[in-house]
C-alpha cells in the first residue's frame, strides 16, 4: 500500500480539485435546469390542454426510456451534424443530463400535484382565483411537501450521473482522474481517491437531505 505515499498523488491533487469544481458546476446547472423543465412539463401534463398534455407525455417517455449516456453522446456527436454548429462537451453533457433528469422531475411534479385533493381547486375557483393563481398559490406549495423525498433521491442520482460527462472529455472529476492516471501511471491511488470524494460528498448530503425531509414532515399540518 505504499503506493499511496507516492509523490504522484500530491502532484495530482490540484488537477483533481479543478475536476471537482467542474463536477459541481455541471451538477448545479443541471439541477436548476431539470427543476425548471420538470415544473414546466409536469404542469403541462397535469393541467395542460390536449396538445400540451401529449407533448409532455412524449418528452417524458422519450427521455425516461433511453439511457442517459446515449442522450449525452447523441447531443455531442449527432446534434452538431443536424444544427451545423459545434456543441461543447459541457453543453452536450448539460443538455443530456438536464433533459433526462427533467423528465423524471416532471413525473415527480405531476405525482405531487395529483396528491393535492381536488377540493382545493374547487375552493380556490369558488373564491374566483385564476387557474394560474390556483396553480402557483394553492396547488404547488402543498404539492412540494410530497415531492421532497423523490427530489432528494433524484438530485443524488444526478450528481453521480455527472461522471458520464467524462466520456465526452468534459474535464470533471472522472476525466481528470483518467488524464492523471495516464500521465503518472497511478490508477489505484487516483481512482480510489475519486471514489472516496464521491462517497464523502454523497453520504453526508443524503443524510442532511433525509434530516430536512423529516423536519418538513413534522411541520406538516
Amino acid at each position: 500500500m505504499d503506493a499511496f505515499l507516492s509523490p504522484s498523488l500530491a502532484i495530482s491533487l490540484p488537477a483533481l480539485a479543478r475536476g471537482l469544481v467542474h463536477t459541481l458546476e455541471l451538477a448545479v446547472v443541471c439541477l436548476v435546469a431539470s427543476l425548471l423543465l420538470g415544473l414546466v412539463f409536469g404542469v403541462m401534463r397535469y393541467a395542460g390542454g390536449r396538445v400540451l398534455h401529449a407533448l409532455a407525455i412524449a418528452y417524458v417517455e422519450v427521455f425516461r426510456n433511453t439511457p442517459v449516456l446515449v442522450q449525452i453522446l447523441w447531443f455531442f456527436f449527432a446534434l452538431p451534424i443536424l444544427v451545423q454548429f459545434e456543441i461543447s462537451a459541457f453543453t452536450a453533457a448539460a443538455l443530456g443530463l438536464s433533459l433526462n433528469s427533467g423528465a423524471f422531475s416532471a413525473e415527480i411534479f405531476r405525482a405531487g400535484m395529483q396528491a393535492v385533493p381536488k377540493g382545493q381547486w374547487e375552493a380556490a375557483n369558488a373564491l374566483g382565483m385564476s387557474r394560474t393563481r390556483v396553480m402557483f398559490r394553492i396547488v404547488l406549495p402543498q404539492a412540494v411537501r410530497h415531492m421532497i423525498p423523490a427530489f432528494t433521491n433524484r438530485w443524488i442520482e444526478l450528481f453521480k450521473l455527472t461522471s458520464l460527462a467524462s466520456v465526452i472529455a468534459y474535464p470533471e472529476l472522472v476525466y481528470s482522474a483518467q488524464q492523471i492516471s495516464n500521465s503518472y501511471f497511478n490508477p489505484v491511488e487516483v481512482f480510489t481517491l475519486v471514489a472516496v470524494i464521491f462517497i464523502a460528498l454523497v453520504i453526508p448530503a443524503s443524510y442532511l437531505l433525509r434530516r430536512l425531509e423529516a423536519r418538513l414532515r413534522r411541520s406538516a399540518p
Partner: protein, 226 residues
C-alpha cells in the same frame, strides 16, 4: 447546407446492431442473476441481530450506492489490475461492477419488503417450529417478493440503461457497436438516432410489462409497498 439523411447504413449493419443489443441484454441479465441473490444476502445481513453482520453490510450498501457506477467500473478496470495483477476484460469488469451496484440497490428493496411483513407472520412461523431458512423460503420471502416485484422490475430497467457504461471499457454492447459503425461510416446522426430508438422500444416494452405486473398484483389485492 442541408444534411442528407441516409438510413441505408442501419440496414447494412442490422446484424451488428442486433448483436450489440444481444450483448447489452446478456450483460444486464448476468448482473440481475448475480445481483439479486447477492442483494438478498446483504439485506439478510443488515436485518440480522448480530452486529458483526450488520455493519459490514451497511458499509457495503452505503459505499456502493454512493459511488457512481462509472467510477466503480473504472476502478475495477484500471485500478484493480495494478493492485492485484488480475486483468479483467471489459465484459468481466462491467458484469462485476453492475452486479455489485445492483445488489446494493436491491438489498434496500429486499430489506423494505422483508421489514413490511407483519410481526405475526414471523411469530406464527416460529410458533410452528420452522427453521430460519425454511421460514424465509416458505413464509416471508414469497410475500415480500410479491410486494416488491414492481420495484424490482423498475430497478432492472434502470440497470439495463446503466449497462451502457460497459461501452466505455470496450465491451461490444449496443452503444459500443454504434460508436464503431459511426467511426467507419461517418453516419453518426443516423446510427445514434437508431440506437436511441432501439433502446426506447426495448425499455418501453419492459416498462409496459412492469405496469402489467403492477396491475395484476393490484387486482389480486397485494398492496405495493414503496
Amino acid at each position: 447546407m442541408h444534411y442528407q439523411w441516409d438510413f441505408s447504413v442501419i440496414g447494412d449493419n442490422a446484424g451488428l446492431l442486433l448483436w450489440g443489443l444481444g450483448n447489452t441484454l446478456l450483460l444486464t441479465l448476468i448482473a440481475i442473476l448475480i445481483g439479486t441473490p447477492l442483494g438478498l444476502a446483504v439485506a439478510l445481513m443488515r436485518l440480522s441481530s448480530r452486529r458483526w453482520l450488520v455493519w459490514p453490510a451497511t458499509v457495503y450498501v452505503e459505499v456502493f450506492r454512493a459511488a457512481p457506477a462509472l467510477v466503480q467500473l473504472y476502478w475495477l478496470y484500471f485500478a484493480l489490475p495494478r493492485l492485484t495483477g488480475l486483468r479483467l476484460g471489459g465484459f468481466e469488469a462491467a458484469a462485476i461492477a453492475l452486479s455489485i451496484l445492483s445488489s446494493a440497490f436491491l438489498s434496500e428493496v429486499f430489506r423494505g419488503g422483508i421489514a413490511s411483513i407483519g410481526k405475526g407472520q414471523w411469530d406464527a412461523a416460529r410458533g410452528i417450529g420452522l427453521s430460519y431458512p425454511r421460514m424465509l423460503r416458505t413464509i416471508i420471502l414469497p410475500q415480500a417478493i410479491r410486494r416488491m416485484l414492481p420495484v424490482f422490475l423498475e430497478r432492472y430497467i434502470e440497470l439495463l440503461k446503466t449497462s451502457t457504461i460497459a461501452a466505455t471499457v470496450s465491451f461490444g454492447d449496443l452503444l459500443f457497436v454504434a460508436q464503431d459503425i459511426s467511426y467507419r461510416t461517418y453516419r453518426t446522426l443516423e446510427i445514434f438516432s437508431a440506437i436511441a430508438v432501439m433502446f426506447f422500444l426495448v425499455i418501453l416494452l419492459c416498462s409496459q410489462l412492469t405496469r402489467l405486473v403492477e396491475h395484476r398484483l393490484a387486482r389480486s389485492g397485494e398492496f405495493t409497498a414503496r
